[in-house]
């Protein structure tokens, strides 16, 4: 625990930089060490202060360790405390010298003054030197029996420190049992609270290896223990109250009467000035009432006022922590807060992280009765000097429009934004108008009239430009200039840096082409040529795809780009409800502030009170545990939910990512197609100089573009036999898997069919696990029940440490397997996919 290295950045003039001073101190300390002269303690104090001040600013003063210890023979308590602080700081890096201190610390542990006993014991336990633990057991044992509560308080924490230095020494000395006895019998509440703290830490750590510890941990949550604490809660300090409330939140009451007893007992805790106590109480109330919908709702009503009071009292930092929790509750039950919307108005001097939360809350609580006022308020922010917030506000207006039935007034407001002639306002508003049109096509006339007036030159932001281009393509019939605007955009293809914009441009010009062929043919040719030459893979691929589909069949091409559209009814939520539930379970923790469940930002050992035995979205971990053990019923339920969620989400996401074209039964207007084919044949005539290469009708387009296309392997060709060799004894721990899964992008996402034999064999997930293992593909987690199964597999290359990760969802009723592959070496993922598919296809085949 050495202090951080000295910063050379900006040390103030009084801060010395190093060695000379330290050796000076050393000699001065040495002089004083043996002295018995009067006033020597004052000189020592000054020197010690200097040492500590160097230590604080990061200068390494460990060189004076010996001298400090020599000077420690004193009865002056101020000197003693400074010496303890010093020793605690440097003992770990100087274990040999630390031994020197044991003597005087042990002696002090027997001092007549309880203060000295306590301080010495604390320092002794803070040395953190493993080979000194033998000296701790004795003093700790007597400390726990000391008649001064101060010493006992220190001793209990000392036991926990000892456990962290040497768990076996701690357990062998039977300290946990001593603490348990103290916890239930000591008269001092801080001793009791520290016992609870220490035992929770110790038994949680021990529980994985010792059944007894696991039982003891359970016992902490038993009714007698929990009520012992709850009944005395008022005697505890406010901080210890939080501890008790956390404990109670994990307790499962046996019946509703017990729930009401607890809630009545703790009702006044909601009026506490300490926000931590109030939030811990709220968490407990929310947890207790989860299964009683009506009471749960009453709890929401009850906690509203205290939360709002906490938000507006205290420092901005504290109020932010509370506001984050209020935000979570508002997002869960917006209707309960809809009459409190004015509390979510932004104040001009609030930091942007607060404003962002408030904007989201305003969006969530908007309903028929308050929308007008909320939108009016949001429009005020759109002209805000804080541009990021102005943008968020406009987006909020858009979101409200998308969740309302009566959007009349809002559409007007949005269109007014477009007329404000501020670049960022226009940009945001364009994106919104696009989304709005996807949901409410009936507004197209009003919107198009305004959008048509916007010069594409004034729109620079990629998202906004893409939105404008999408509208140009989608409404090319109504917007007279559409083909010409698109054409001019295509002329500047090379200056367009955003691939997203170029992709949209390709699609828009295709759409436009089918609606107004003669005017667009030139632009289409130019766009496809530019797209094929594009260095960006996606742009290139899309251009090639359009090119080929036109080549193949023009009417098919039209069905692809201009299918009849259905309005989007619900836009996909960015966060799955599973994640939201997980965050709610972790109420009153950092998860709420970060808006992420703890497994996303904390390693397992530090997850604190929210330990989940499962890691990957409620799936049981490890092939071993999946094989042969019965998955608890509630977990299976969660799995089902998880599976259903992930599939339905996929469908929702599909919509937006495909320019909102919700695909339904294809039907198309023949006349448009014929016009298009005609235009195509005209194109041929325009380019007579290029010699025909293929006899088909598609020849025309080939020629038109005049491109020497490279030979492209036929997609129909059978996949070549996999050359990839996998390591049959691959090892990966769940933590690494999870970390990799988060970090790597999806390199391949596919859907396979599962053979009927495979479906028949897949009665339990274990069967498939064993089968895949035979192909060197190992399972790390699995779950689900017929017909939905979900698996996480991994595999490693035989020659190198390169890992493949697979998420595989199998639906046996549709006989389909959806897989997502992530790989260290992405170039090999295609090959691995083939191997995976072939392994899967052999499943169930004798």
């Amino acid at each position: 625990m050495a202090p951080p290295a000295q910063s050379h950045r900006s040390s103030s003039p009084s801060q010395p930089s190093g060695k000379g001073e330290v050796s000076d101190l050393k000699s001065q300390l040495r002089q004083l060490a043996g002295s018995r002269a009067p006033g020597v303690d004052d000189s020592k104090r000054d020197l010690f202060k200097k040492v500590i001040s160097y230590m604080t600013i990061g200068i390494d003063v460990s060189a004076v360790f010996g001298e400090m210890v020599m000077c420690s023979a004193t009865s002056d308590i101020v000197l003693k405390k400074m010496c303890y602080l010093y020793v605690g700081n440097y003992a770990k890096v100087n274990p040999d010298l630390a031994l020197l201190t044991i003597n005087f610390l042990q002696r002090d542990c027997k001092d007549a003054d309880p203060m000295i006993r306590g301080l010495a014991l604390r320092s002794l336990c803070s040395l953190r030197v493993a080979n000194l633990v033998e000296y701790l057991v004795g003093p700790l044992g007597s400390g726990l029996k000391d008649n001064s509560s101060y010493v006992r308080i220190v001793a209990v924490m000392g036991v926990l420190k000892l456990y962290h230095i040497s768990a076996s020494t701690c357990v062998d000395a039977d300290f946990p049992q001593t603490l348990k006895h103290l916890m239930l019998n000591d008269s001092d509440t801080q001793v009791v609270a520290n016992c609870l703290t220490a035992l929770q830490e110790i038994w949680s750590a021990e529980a994985s290896t010792s059944e007894e510890a696991s039982r003891e941990r359970e016992a902490l949550l038993s009714k007698p223990v929990v009520f012992y604490f709850l009944n005395r809660i008022r005697e505890f300090s406010e901080w210890a109250q939080c501890l008790v409330l956390d404990l109670a939140a994990k307790y499962v009451p046996s019946d509703n009467n017990e729930i009401f007893d607890i809630m009545n007992l703790l009702e006044d805790r909601l009026q506490h000035a300490n926000g931590a106590v109030v939030l811990a109480t709220i968490k407990l109330f929310l947890q207790l009432t989860l299964s009683m919908a009506d009471v749960h709702q009453q709890v929401y009503e009850r906690i509203k006022a205290p939360l709002l009071t906490l938000v507006s009292s205290g420092s901005p930092e504290q109020s932010y922590a509370v506001l984050s929790h209020l935000h979570l509750l508002v997002m869960r039950a917006p209707y309960i807060f809809s009459s409190d919307y004015k509390h979510f108005y932004c104040q001009y001097n609030e930091p942007s992280y607060v404003k962002k939360l408030k904007l989201e809350m305003l969006t969530a609580v908007a309903n028929e009765s308050n929308t007008y006022e909320i939108v009016t308020e949001l429009c005020e922010y759109a002209a805000n000097v804080d541009i990021p917030i102005a943008r968020e506000s406009i987006r909020a207006v858009g979101k409200i429009a998308l969740q309302q039935y009566d959007v009349n007034a809002i559409v007007d407001r949005l269109l007014q934004f477009l007329e404000m002639e501020k670049d960022y306002v226009t940009a945001e508003a364009l994106v919104l108008v696009k989304d709005l049109l996807r949901k409410y096509p009936q507004w197209s006339q009003d919107c198009i009239a305004v959008v048509g007036n916007i010069s594409s030159k004034n729109v620079q932001e990629p998202k906004a430009k893409a939105a404008l281009i999408w509208m140009l393509g989608e409404y090319s019939q109504e917007m007279h200039d559409a083909p010409y605007i698109l054409e001019s955009l295509i002329e500047n293809w090379d200056e367009e840096h955003s691939a997203e914009v170029r992709l949209h441009l390709l699609t828009a010009v295709m759409k436009c082409f089918f609606k107004r062929p003669p005017e667009t043919q030139k632009a289409l040719g130019a766009a496809l040529a530019a797209g094929l030459a594009d260095f960006h893979q996606d742009v290139h691929d899309r251009a090639l795809f359009y090119y080929r589909v036109l080549q193949h069949n023009v009417s098919v091409a039209e069905r692809v780009v201009n299918p009849p559209k259905q309005a989007v009814s619900v836009f996909a939520d960015t966060q799955s409800s599973e994640i939201k539930d997980r965050i709610f379970d972790e109420f009153n923790s950092l998860s709420v502030v970060y808006q992420k469940p703890s497994y996303m930002f904390t390693d397992k050992e530090h997850r604190g009170p929210f330990e989940f035995s499962d890691e990957l979205g409620n799936l049981s971990i490890g092939a071993e545990s999946a094989v042969g053990t019965v998955v608890p019923a509630h977990r299976v339920e969660a799995n089902d939910k998880d599976l259903l969620l992930s599939t339905s989400e996929k469908e929702e996401i599909k919509g937006p990512s495909n320019n909102g074209s919700a695909y339904s039964a294809p039907s198309y207007d023949g006349s448009a197609v014929s016009a298009a084919s005609q235009a195509l044949s005209e194109l041929t005539i325009l380019n007579p100089s290029v010699p025909g290469l293929t006899p088909q009708s598609s020849l025309a387009i080939d020629d038109l573009l005049g491109l020497g296309l490279p030979e492209i392997p036929s997609p129909a060709a059978a996949p070549s036999p996999p050359l990839l060799k996998l390591n049959s004894k691959a090892i990966l721990d769940p933590g690494t898997f999870q970390q990799k899964w988060r970090q790597l992008p999806i390199s391949l996402s596919q859907e396979y069919s599962v053979s009927p034999q495979g479906v028949a064999a897949l009665t339990t997930s274990e069967a498939l696990l064993r089968h895949m293992q035979g192909h060197s593909i190992h399972c790390i987690a699995s779950g689900g029940q017929s017909p939905n199964f979900k698996f996480f597999f991994f595999a490693q290359k035989a020659e190198e440490l390169s890992t493949f990760l697979v998420e595989c969802i199998i639906n046996t009723s549709s006989a389909k397997a959806q897989i997502k592959i992530k790989a260290d070496d992405q170039s090999a993922s295609q090959e691995f996919s083939a191997l995976f598919q072939s392994a899967l296809s052999k499943f169930g085949v004798p």
Binding site: A5, I77, A305, S312, H325, D340, K342, V385
Partner: protein, 448 residues
Amino acid sequence: MISQFFVLSQRGDNIVFRDYRGEIQKGSTEIFFRKVKFWKEDGQEEAPPVFNLDGVNYFHVKVVGLFFVATTRVNVSPSLVLELLQRIARVIKDYLGILNEESLRKNFVLVYELLDEVIDFGYVQTTSTEMLKSYVFNEPIVVEDARLQYSALFMQGTKRMPGTAVTKSVVANDPTGRRREEIFVDLIEKISITFSSSGYILTSEIDGTIQMKSYLTGNPEIRLALNDDLTIGRGGRSVFDYRSSSGTGAVILDDCNFHESVHLDSFETDKTLSLVPPDGEFTVMNYRLTQEFKPPFRVNTLIEETGALKAEVMIKVRAEFSSSITANTIMVQMPLPKYTTRASFELEPGAIGQTTNFKEANRRLEWGLKKIVGGSEHTLRAKLTFSPESHGNITKESGPVSMTFTIPMYNASRLQVKYLQIAKKSGTYNPYRWVRYVTQANSYVARI
């Protein structure tokens, strides 16, 4: 559970550093400081009070320009840690009298004494100034605070408060050798209000707090009586329903919370709080009300285009409180359109103690007034010049006007401490009692 606690100066120097669990790598203070300093490249956004970097959670609160920071790897309750940091700052202030960089540097050994007892192995032990007294052996080295802002807050005309009293340490000995028996009760209210462009009140809220600082020996019990007609909670009605109490004069709090030591046994019957005040400064009660109240200031703003690239702004501020009361340190601010190049100001004739400024960097007009006496009205005229580049609607792109101010001995809510009773030890025991009021602007905004 926290792992480290440290205090950094504005420049990022360690003033105090304590590692409780030794599980976070070296250099966390620098990592923290760099992240906070350069949160967003444009420097516009402030770092939030809690963030996670490489698995380490950093919590910070800013107190008198210093960073009070805690780190941990555990998924703890953010409220608990932030509350704790704030409390540590307060405890240190109780002991040092004045909390600033200088006093911390001079007294760091005392601060370490406190930190050793406040937290052990990352867990909070006690934050009670009183309990900590028996563990602190260093004498505080008192520093002078040249500004004495805190006590100036409450000064109203000639009614002078003992300015040094609130900045004295709970353990320091008075130079005269005797301790003055006294107790301070402060009602501090913060007003948030938004006026629409037509002067109609869109939202209003008062966030109040009753602070107490006791220097009484022997911890006598205290009874604090509030308004007889005080009620708490607005029933099932929406909190922004103004019909309720206007005219009746009753004070209706939306909600409130209390310090641990407060007993509410007789609150229902006679609106009295009884408590045994602990040493040091603490919050007796926080309250919040959205009940209609008379705003202390009315602001009118007019913008007129006076030429192709010119406009004139007129801001009028009227003080709507009694003439026996004076507001001080008033600042009126108004963002101007981005294309404003110049602003010239014209104050009313005979104006004293007023300053004007055009902040070119962020195009903001600033008008400072030292004092405003109740009932008076002040006007500022500003002539603006715009750059020739295209510009839109001037009114839409300026404003809103915001105000900050302090009004001593005034409170908008009409909540009062009717009396402060100290349980008597003897007939001659009669400590000084100071009950003080102050109102400040939190967010005082008038749209145009």
